[in-house]
């Protein structure tokens, strides 16, 4: 058993490739870009939500104002076939 593990002791140190630093810097910068993309997507989603919400509340107001109009109208105003 010791013989097997002694083989592991002979493993030599390896010099990392020179291009690795640039690769790491590139991926760090890409990460920053990804953050920007996420922020933009969140902003757009937020804008769409706000728009939808305001559109819905506008429609609700329209309906409630019409409802008020019908409710306030006198009984003889209603049309019967």
């Amino acid at each position: 058993m010791e013989t097997s593990l002694e083989v592991l002791n002979k493993t030599q140190r390896v010099t990392p490739p020179d291009a690795l630093y640039n690769k790491i810097m590139e991926s760090i910068n890409d990460r920053a870009d990804i953050k920007l993309i996420y922020a933009s997507v969140i902003c757009i989603a937020l804008l769409i939500t706000i728009n939808l919400f305001s559109f819905r509340s506008y429609n609700d107001n329209e309906f409630s104002s019409n409802k008020k109009y019908y409710l306030d109208s006198p009984i003889n105003y209603l049309f019967y076939e």
Binding site: Q12, P16, I28
Partner: protein, 178 residues
């Protein structure tokens, strides 16, 4: 956090050899080690501002590299399992643990075959057994430092190494029988 690009370059130059070789000793594959090193330095770049200096920075880097290497191996194994079961429509358990795609430039040619077998068995060991063998035997770190990195006592390192050796011996014997 790194204010200047030069700071990060100095930091990188100081620790790249440690990170790369440790990852290489876990994965036994140069490309995988590069990917892990990349991941480690990205994490360090992001997290250094939160480092509380309760332990040495080198110990912290050791821990990040070990965790990233183990995560990488786990996800690779999972991916391999999924791929094989999808491809073959049955669970080929013997084939799955065929182990690492061996490409360790630090291993001498005459030892390559035996080291490859050891790595295949190492891959089947629990994470803490694997870590103790990598740090003590391959990295050649002293017991005290290993205890510090693994955040356990020196006595615990000793007994962990003893158990790891026994388990590895069993696996190697099984490998010979096959």
């Amino acid at each position: 956090m790194f204010n200047e690009k030069v700071d990060f370059k100095n930091f990188y130059e100081k620790y790249i050899e440690l990170v790369f070789n440790l990852a290489l000793n876990y994965t036994a594959n140069k490309e995988d080690a590069e990917e892990i090193a990349q991941d480690v330095f990205e994490t360090v770049f992001k997290k250094l501002e939160f480092f509380r200096y309760e332990s040495k920075i080198e110990t912290w880097i050791y821990r990040i590299t070990i965790n990233k290497s183990l995560d990488y191996l786990r996800s690779k194994k999972r991916l391999k399992n999924k791929f094989l079961s999808n491809l073959l429509f049955f669970n080929n358990k013997d084939g799955i643990n065929e182990g690492v795609n061996f490409n360790h430039p630090g291993v001498e040619f005459e030892n390559k075959e035996s080291v490859q077998i050891i790595y295949k068995c190492l891959d089947k060991l629990p994470n803490n057994y694997k870590t103790v063998i990598v740090l003590l035997k391959i990295e050649g770190e002293p017991q005290k430092k290993v205890a510090e990195i693994m955040n356990i006592s020196e006595k615990a390192v000793e007994s962990l190494f003893f158990r790891a050796k026994l388990k590895l011996k069993d696996l190697l014997e099984n490998e010979k029988d096959i």
